[in-house]
């Protein structure tokens, strides 16, 4: 019933998610925030894989990349600084 090595890995990834979301809260440059968001969705996809839902992992990976690309395009077209 104890925690296995895989559990510690998942914990580390969840910790990374928390750090990444805090970073997105504080970063002022929107382009950097969106890049961190791309990393966030990637780690999220790995967590889904760890939790035995590969279906969700592949969708999250595709959707995360799609959303990141869209956000980057819009930020490139508009303004990059958070005021």
């Amino acid at each position: 019933m104890g925690l296995t090595l895989a559990d510690y890995g998942t914990m580390a990834m969840l910790f990374m998610l928390i750090v990444a979301s805090l970073a997105m809260y504080f970063i002022r440059d929107l382009m950097h925030a969106v890049i961190v968001y791309g990393a966030y969705t990637l780690v999220m996809a790995l967590i889904w894989l760890q939790m035995n839902t590969p279906d969700l992992a592949i969708t999250e990976a595709a959707a995360g990349i799609g959303m990141t690309v869209m956000m980057m395009v819009v930020i490139y077209r508009t303004s990059r600084k958070e005021e």
Binding site: L14, L17, M44, W48, T78
Partner: protein, 127 residues
């Protein structure tokens, strides 16, 4: 005490989900930049997905695909993952729609910051 700690630790995905939910809703409610609000919404939704998936997964389970793994370990519950798939689709469409609105707002106001937008609008109203 040790048993209690073990009980708490074994449920770590829920704690992470709660923390992520809090950070996400804080981002939505306190940051005035529209992109930040959008990112916050996405963080919040993924936190809820995490909670749902953690409820459906089991520690000794395997992927619920027939003939994928012939050991006799139990499948995890496939229903939450199918449902959260829909949730991801919804969050993608919300994001896309919000981005289209941001582009339109930027064309009118020249900024993506909600506070400055309302400043500009009030200034226009006064003149």
């Amino acid at each position: 005490m040790k048993i209690l700690l073990g009980k708490v630790l074994i449920n770590y995905p829920y704690f992470a989900a709660v923390i992520l939910f809090a950070i996400g809703s804080a981002t939505v409610l306190t940051r005035s930049n529209l992109f930040k609000k959008l990112i916050g919404i996405n963080i919040m939704e993924s936190a809820i997905f995490l909670m749902f998936i953690a409820a459906g997964s089991r520690r000794d389970g395997v992927v619920p695909i027939l003939h994928m793994d012939d050991s006799l370990r139990p499948y995890i519950n496939p229903l939450p993952s199918a449902l959260m798939l829909t949730g991801i689709v919804v969050s993608v469409s919300v994001t896309a729609f919000a981005l289209a609105l941001i582009v339109r707002l930027y064309r009118f106001y020249g900024t993506t910051d909600a506070k400055r937008m309302s400043d500009i609008r009030n200034g226009v109203a006064k003149e």
